[in-house]
């Protein structure tokens, strides 16, 4: 690949013009260039403002869908333009037309390749973004290389861009799949919230079947979820739903499915295979006789997604809702109803989708939306589409409300909706025996409605209802017979005729009369009505031939000469069948059985009935058809796969870069605001767990254990105090994980002993997080414990006797610290790169003089350098700025991991990648002046090692050497 990239780089400015002139596209370009001559001229000019104007006009052309491809050569020349806006617009153009003009597009590649090496992360990212968006197959190897490099970039933003580039490359060349999966695997291990959403999206597009890649990252994803941006949350939640279905047991198995009855009453209309599955599952459950215990990881997922029901983003809420619907124990599913109902107040498109899903949910879980019935009430201003769906929702939910308000609905002027309502009433009536009579009465009342459409729709529904128990309702049939005089809608007429024919025995007097009337109007009727007249005639002939023989003959004769061949056909068939002649065969004997066979009552089904095998919230579910790329929601496994696959081994803390999460894991500022100890803020505590439920607290601790890295475990003792406090104040159900990998153990120091402080004790530690209000300050975390019996008030700090240049940012006053309580705060101190102590005065009811002395290692913050940069910088810090010390390492600590850990504990530095095995390099900058601090530990034979520190500030350098030496040899 590198050779090909060289080729591109060699194309110089002059050559570009040649290529332009000789390119094959040119003939077309020459031809149409006259149209865009002015634009071309502007693009060629030296003035940025002219170029910009031209580009704006070109973009406007693209936006309108006009073809601007003939300007390609003129535009692509400006890809390296200094003006940012011109550059951006050129990118827009390039991405749009590169596919059509592949040869010319190659000219721009070198610019992006240069951009990939830029020291600024945002420029690297945007170069990768555009490069990967150019759909030209020749550059696939270049893209692959760029993605791989970006995936290990120090900046999470660039890594995010790399994740975005993966599906682009995959769609361009699916052959790269294996290599891309490697990159995805690497990025999935990333600990930052910025990357998580994008990489899961790439995973879903490239290799959704590789569920094994998720195991190790499952817990991390669950814990990061709340801080991931909204769009990423949706993708992650959907993926985790599928994952959970393959890894955990069905939490509803033990109820034996008895409560899981479908909405439409009896079990009969359940899908056969579904039933079979259930039986199988039940059998399995019986066989085991083992009480169900939810996997702690399963619980973790449910717990961590729940707060997202309060997201402002409808897609997130829906994603959580479907997760709960598919994964949660039945008793817990109820929580989603409120959130979904809230979405009904949103835009009508959102309502549309939510209602569709609600309809499916109510089929499975009947009572779920009952408390929120009123939200389904229909307003006259709702669009028809929504009304119909709401109707389905309401009627699916329960019949009771319907009886309250359906009268109003039916009066609505919106006819489509009225029709849908009546159909829904029919469905309810067929499926819920208790209300059948009420519904039928209501429908019969509707028959006298003045609106024909309402009547017609009711007739059709009544017909279906009557079929279920005709003997009881002969008066209704009589009533309907009367309607034939008025009703004009063909479907309704046909339905009435069919009913009379079918149950002519219940209305022996009326039926022949109806036939008489119909015979009169036969020629004017619609086709479906004619067919039913024929049916009625045939049935009457068979049951009551004395009265109707002539009428039937007459009708059949009329039908014989009808224009429609279907009707002629039917007439011939019926005549042969029912009128006995000598030629008629054996069939006519069975005519009565044929015509008057008992017909099974129709099953009225909700149109949402068969949708529930699709994952809720998905496009496929909405359309009730499998969309491309839809991943089936797997069935629960019968036995849970090994849960230990999700345990995470100890990891090296090589990368110290990461983002601090905000919403629940909390940022520093959060800490200042909350005077109480708030979760993992004090130290990135991994095991703040659910304290509300002591039952689950042990469980979640256990689940978190696996994802802790080694250092954190070592931290545990230190954090005991913290943890206790966490337990007290923590009310949230989220368990936390560190998203920063601390580069060493946090050591806490005593600021005020409880005896000197008269009951108040203060400890401090260096949190190693950036102090957000002022980047030049070191963040110091203070932990106050009131050991006395009385409360302490107005605890705040005053700066006295500061060294010149030192600055302090006080923590906000703690107004009240009750006896026995603990609080924490963060303050910032600018130590001016010296280890002089900052003398401070802590004031509450009394004054205490305290001092904070920073270890030299805390006066710096990590920077990320590449190996080359490191060497270059080191080369500039030779001579007096370099300090070297020989040492002998203890046998136990000769391995690289131990060295890295000890150095990063002693000083806040980050590791620099290094080619050789026996060298470890670290880099940082001092907090105030930003001077580079470079540390090298070279190991030799038998534990002999050499420590080199390069630093502009010799004092710092000397002290650092001492500290690291101590750390390594101890």
């Amino acid at each position: 690949c590198s050779s090909s990239s060289c080729v591109f780089r060699e194309v110089s400015e002059e050559q570009r013009c040649d290529i332009v002139a000789s390119s094959t596209v040119n003939s077309f370009w020459m031809f149409s260039s006259c149209r865009h001559d002015d634009l071309k001229e502007m693009l060629d000019s030296n003035k940025d403002s002219l170029k910009l104007e031209a580009m704006k006009r070109i973009v406007a052309m693209i936006a309108r869908g006009k073809n601007a491809s003939d300007l390609f050569p003129a535009v692509v020349k400006n890809v390296a333009c200094k003006n940012i806006e011109v550059k951006k617009l050129v990118y827009v153009y390039l991405v749009r037309y590169a596919e059509e003009q592949q040869d010319l597009a190659l000219l721009s590649i070198s610019t992006f390749q240069r951009g990939l090496k830029d020291p600024n992360q945002l420029i690297r990212a945007s170069a990768l973004r555009v490069l990967s968006s150019i759909r030209v197959t020749i550059i696939v190897p270049i893209m692959m290389l760029a993605i791989k490099e970006a995936a290990s970039d120090m900046s999470p933003y660039v890594r995010k861009t790399a994740a975005h580039a993966i599906p682009k490359l995959y769609s361009l060349d699916p052959e790269q799949k294996d290599q891309l999966i490697e990159v995805i695997e690497k990025l999935l291990a990333d600990k930052t919230t910025l990357v998580a959403g994008s990489v899961v999206m790439a995973f879903e597009e490239v290799c959704p079947e590789r569920i094994d890649l998720i195991h190790k990252n499952y817990r991390k994803l669950c814990n990061l979820l709340i801080d991931v941006e909204e769009w990423g949350q949706v993708v992650i939640i959907n993926m985790l739903t599928r994952y959970a279905r393959t890894q955990f047991l069905n939490p509803n198995l033990n109820d034996g499915g008895s409560g899981d009855k479908t909405f439409y009453g009896s079990d009969e209309d359940e899908d056969d295979d579904e039933k079979e599955n259930k039986e199988k599952a039940e059998a399995a459950a019986l066989a085991k006789r083992k009480p169900y215990v939810m996997d702690p990881d399963h619980r973790l997922l449910l717990r961590n997604t729940k707060p997202l029901l309060q997201s402002r983003n409808a897609a997130v809420v829906m994603a959580v809702a479907q997760l709960y619907f598919h994964l949660a124990p039945k008793a817990e599913v109820g929580v989603i109803a409120k959130a979904l109902v809230r979405l009904l107040r949103s835009h009508s498109e959102v309502q549309f989708v939510v209602l569709q899903n609600v309809a499916t949910m109510t089929i499975r879980r009947r009572g779920m939306f009952e408390p929120y019935l009123k939200s389904f009430y229909i307003r006259s201003t709702d669009p028809t589409l929504i009304k119909i769906l709401k109707g389905n929702g309401v009627l699916g939910v329960t019949i009771w409300c319907l009886l309250l308000s359906w009268q109003t609905y039916i009066k609505s002027m919106d006819k489509d909706f009225v029709a849908a309502t009546i159909q829904a009433i029919g469905r309810c009536a067929t499926n819920i025996g208790e209300v059948r009579d009420t519904c039928l009465n209501g429908l019969v009342q509707l028959l006298s409605n003045r609106d024909e459409l309402v009547v017609a729709e009711s007739v059709v529904v009544i017909k279906k209802l009557l079929q279920m128990q005709p003997e009881k309702h002969s008066d209704i049939i009589k009533h309907m017979a009367k309607l034939t005089d008025n009703i004009q809608v063909p479907m309704a007429r046909a339905s009435i005729l069919w009913l009379i024919g079918e149950y002519c025995e219940h209305v022996p007097k009326i039926a022949p009369d109806v036939l008489r009337k119909m015979a009169k109007s036969f020629t004017y009727e619609e086709d479906i009505v004619k067919l039913q007249i024929l049916n009625l005639a045939a049935k009457l002939y068979l049951t009551n031939s004395k009265q109707t023989k002539l009428l039937t003959q007459y009708v059949l004769n009329l039908a014989k000469y009808d224009q429609n061949y279907d009707i002629r056909d039917r007439a011939r068939f019926i005549r042969q069948l029912i009128v006995p002649t000598e030629k008629s065969g054996a069939l006519s004997k069975y005519a009565k059985k044929l015509f008057l066979a008992l017909k099974p009552a129709p099953v009225l089904e909700s149109p949402f009935k068969d949708r529930d095998h699709f994952q809720l919230g998905s496009l496929s579910h909405l359309l009730n058809a499998k969309a491309g790329g839809y991943q089936e929601l797997p069935d629960w496994p019968e036995a849970a796969p090994d849960p230990s696959v999700r345990n995470v081994e100890v990891k090296e803390s090589v990368r110290a870069v990461g983002t601090v999460t905000y919403r629940d894991t909390g940022a520093l500022c959060a800490l200042q605001a909350s005077q109480k100890v708030d979760g993992a803020q004090v130290a990135p505590a991994p095991d703040a767990s659910d304290s509300e439920q002591s039952r689950s607290s042990s469980e979640s601790e256990e689940s978190d254990e696996g994802s802790e890295s080694e250092e954190e475990k070592e931290n545990k003792n230190k954090k005991k105090v913290v943890k206790k406090a966490v337990k007290e104040s923590e009310r949230c159900r989220i368990s936390l994980l560190p998203t920063i990998t601390p580069s060493g153990t946090l050591k806490s120091y005593e600021l005020l002993h409880r005896i000197t402080g008269e009951g108040l004790s203060v400890e401090y530690c260096f949190g190693r997080q950036p102090f957000s209000p002022d980047a030049n300050m070191v963040a110091v975390q203070l932990q106050f414990t009131n050991n006395s019996t009385s409360e302490t008030k107005n605890l705040h700090m005053k700066d006295v006797k500061l060294q010149s240049g030192m600055r302090v940012k006080e923590f906000p006053e703690i107004e009240l610290l009750p006896a026995g309580d603990t609080a924490s705060a963060v303050m910032g101190i600018d130590f001016c790169d010296s280890t002089q102590a900052a003398n401070l005065q802590l004031t509450s009811t009394r004054k205490f003089f305290v001092s904070i002395q920073p270890p030299v290692g805390e006066l710096m913050r990590p920077v990320f350098l590449t190996e080359n940069e490191f060497k270059r910088e080191q080369g500039q810090l030779m001579g007096m700025n370099e300090l070297t010390e020989k040492l002998i390492l203890d046998a136990k600590y000769r391995n690289e991991h131990a060295i890295v850990q000890r150095v990063t504990t002693a000083a806040h530095l980050s590791r620099v990648p290094c080619g050789s095995d026996n060298e470890c390099r670290f880099a940082g900058r001092t907090v105030t002046s930003g001077s580079l601090v470079l540390v090298t530990v070279a190991t030799g034979e038998e534990g002999v090692a050499q420590l080199t520190v390069n630093c502009e500030k010799m004092v710092i350098g000397t002290m650092l050497v001492k500290d690291i030496l101590l750390a390594l040899t101890q």
Partner: protein, 418 residues
């Protein structure tokens, strides 16, 4: 995910297209036009339309259809929510989201769309980040730009995307530090014929305009947080503190944003601030109908009910209406049969009344349904649910900000059945 976006105006012209992957021909919109034709009204076009090779997901806002083209499985709400976010962003940038505004700012629109999606997956949708990348056009800036040739594209690199609080841009500076919060509540209600409430609920939002220097960390507490049991938050709000202490703790975005929206559905908490006395009758056989409507305030805690507007869709048979308002003015559109009455302020001493006759088409039968009456109104300085902000505190910065809280109640979908 999202392949392409087409913007279609009310007359069916595609006036903007943007592709994030390979170009999809605009002929795909023909399926949309078909569906549009089938739908009786613009809002009845189904939001999701399957076509042989693509799926079209659309939203209708400001009489513009935003049609996204999808090729494979994606949660439909994901796309719908995103499209709405696009519209909100346009509105934020141009003040209005109309065809003219989009056409005038087509370059900015294109730059925005380019930043909002990468390969069809949302990249930057936070208004604060976008504003760092692309400055919103203002009259002043447009003038300066034409003279000096400078650009709308931010010169500095946006750092907000990289920070812990991605919704807040860095380096914010104001000379006047202020934070304003508007508590706005809308009542949705259906009142039946006899005046009893069928359903009533309150949809409330707290919109904020925060202009504070640096990285302020705010906490907002309520006198009666129990009212808020059904809430959704801006991503900046910390869930945990809300659940534990019922306090909103957050680092705000810079500028205008919606902090939270809430829903009070329990009916006994919802006061109905106006009542309607109505007498609308049609008699069988007569070609005239009577119309008599009186409005009055109730449960308003002494605050005036303002900007009252009554509208009603009269039955199709009504030819015209001959009415007499005691205050304000009324109009009746004989084509759409829409009656609107601009009442203004309700004076409790002299209740506004609209009375008169309606002429029906000769020979037409009596309409089966009495019209529904929709009412709009505003009440200043009151949140009908009784929600009250207790205090706002700021941490993390030293200056004293100016704080302000405003309450307002409006009618949402307020219907009276007659």
């Amino acid at each position: 995910m999202i392949h392409s976006l087409f913007l279609i105006n009310a007359s069916g012209d595609i006036f903007l297209e943007k592709h994030w992957k390979s170009v999809v021909s605009r002929s795909v919109c023909d399926y949309f036009f078909e569906a549009q034709e089938r739908a009786t009204e613009p809002e009845n076009v189904p939001p999701v339309i399957p076509t042989p090779h693509h799926y079209l997901i659309s939203v209708l806002r400001h009489r513009i259809y935003f049609v996204a083209v999808i090729q494979s499985e994606v949660p439909p709400l994901f796309v719908i929510e995103f499209l709405h976010r696009v519209v909100d962003t346009f509105q934020d940038y141009f003040g209005v989201c109309t065809e003219a505004a989009i056409k005038d700012n087509v370059v900015v629109v294109y730059e925005l769309l380019e930043e909002m999606l990468d390969n069809g997956f949302p990249l930057a949708t936070e208004s604060n980040i976008l504003k760092e990348l692309i400055k919103p056009p203002t009259i002043l800036r447009t003038m300066v730009n034409t003279i000096t040739g400078s650009t709308n594209v931010g010169e500095q690199l946006p750092t907000g995307q990289l920070s812990v609080v991605p919704w807040r841009r860095t380096g914010v500076k104001y000379t006047n530090n202020e934070a304003y919060f508007d508590v706005v509540e809308e009542i949705d209600a259906i009142i039946d014929k006899s005046g009893s409430t069928i359903t009533a609920e309150i949809q409330g939002v707290i919109d904020a305009c925060v202009k504070l220097t640096g990285m302020p960390d705010l906490t907002l507490s309520f006198m009666n947080p129990r009212l808020l049991d059904d809430v959704s938050f801006h991503p900046c709000v910390r869930f945990k503190r809300w659940e534990a202490e019922r306090i909103l703790s957050f680092i705000p975005p810079d500028g205008n944003f919606r902090l939270l929206s809430y829903h009070v559905s329990s009916q006994n908490l919802v006061a109905i601030p106006v009542y309607v006395k109505h007498n609308i009758t049609f008699r069988e056989g007569s070609s005239q109908g009577r119309f008599d409507l009186t409005l009055g305030p109730k449960q308003t805690m002494g605050k005036a009910v303002e900007s009252v507007l009554v509208s009603s869709q009269l039955p199709r048979g009504v030819l015209n209406a001959n009415l007499n308002p005691s205050q304000g003015a009324y109009t009746f559109d004989p084509v759409t049969k829409l009656l609107t009455w601009d009442v203004g302020k309700i004076n409790p001493q002299k209740l506004p009344n609209l009375k008169g006759t309606m002429n029906l088409q000769a020979g037409a039968s009596k309409p089966d349904e009495n019209p529904t009456i929709n009412i709009q109104f505003k009440i200043q300085q009151m949140a009908i649910s009784g929600l009250k902000v207790n205090r706002l505190d700021m941490y993390g910065e030293k200056y004293k900000p100016f704080k302000g809280i405003k309450y307002m109640t409006k009618a949402g979908k307020f219907q009276v059945r007659t």
